[in-house]
Amino acid sequence: MSIENRDHIEEHHTNIWSYVFVLLALFTLTAFTVLTAIKVDIGSLNIVLAMIIASVKASIVALFFMHLKFEDKLTWLYALYPLFLLFLLIFFTLMETFTRVPVLK
């Protein structure tokens, strides 16, 4: 990984049709998430479902449009680590806030 003076850039040979397919998948999922949000009411799980769908969509964009699929481990590491930190930030902030013991008067 040290300096190498390659002049040839590795290209990932995705073809147009796979992009079209990805786009259709994204559209379908969007439609799906809007419909379930309007029609289906599973209480507090609504948001969970919506977030799962969003994450699937996001993964598709990252993997295919952003070519994460073809990237090396290092890029994966730096793509995932911020997500982990984000999770920590949200998790501990919520944890802190909701474990505060109310003081009884």
Binding site: I16, Y19, A50, Y78, P82, L86, L94, T97
Partner: protein, 207 residues
């Protein structure tokens, strides 16, 4: 430390002078952009954390006020942005294949999509302002304006980048095989899309 001077092999002829090998520049730029995307995620992260906190605290407030958002415009914009991501990916593909014209077309479409998104958003905001709904109205709106506003700024930056890419493409830069800028710019544009993928359900689809 022991060092020896590199032989003047063919490889190192490139290292001589200023230029690094094209592949190194390419890898470096792409990797750099990924790092930058990480910071962007954490920049929005503060807002997502605030969202999670207040949503958990005041679920009813969120359910109540999200109804005032314009779902149709939201859905429309989601499709527009997804589509623009698609055209951006194609622009990169065609730049790689040295198809200058196609690259131009798809970059242009992407730009137009960004513009449509911005216009629709403008009407959404304008409508809200007419109804005297400002960020100070309540926490839900504060979050709504902050997240979508920050996202909007990113859309604008993305559009400027695309304009720059268009310029480079016209000059034929990518045809010579140096398409790194398109790919890196593309990554940025996809991030704009990625964030919207989460903002959309969080703002428009709760309840």
């Amino acid at each position: 430390m022991s060092t020896t001077t590199a032989d003047h092999t063919e490889d190192h002829a490139h290292a001589h002078g200023h230029g690094l090998g094209e592949a190194v520049t390419h890898d470096a730029a792409k990797f750099g952009m990924w790092l930058f995307l990480g910071t962007e995620i954490l920049l929005f992260g503060g807002l997502f954390a605030a969202y999670a906190l207040f949503r958990a605290k005041y679920p009813d407030l969120f359910v109540e006020y999200h109804k005032n958002l314009d779902l149709e415009k939201g859905v429309f914009n989601t499709f527009v942005l997804l589509f623009s991501s698609f055209t951006m990916a194609l622009a990169v593909l065609f730049a790689q294949r040295k198809k200058q014209l196609y690259t131009t077309i798809f970059l242009a479409i992407t730009f137009v999509c960004g513009a449509i998104f911005a216009i629709v958003k403008y009407f959404e905001y304008a409508h809200k302002f007419e109804d005297h709904i400002y960020p100070s109205k309540n926490i839900f709106y504060a979050l709504y304006y902050m997240t979508t506003g920050l996202h909007m700024i990113h859309v604008f930056i993305g559009m400027i980048i695309i304009l720059a890419l268009l310029g480079m493409n016209m000059k034929g830069k990518f045809v010579k095989g140096r398409y790194t800028p398109v790919e890196v710019g593309g990554l940025y544009w996809h991030l704009v899309d990625l964030i919207w993928i989460y903002l959309f359900p969080l703002m428009y689809l709760i309840g």
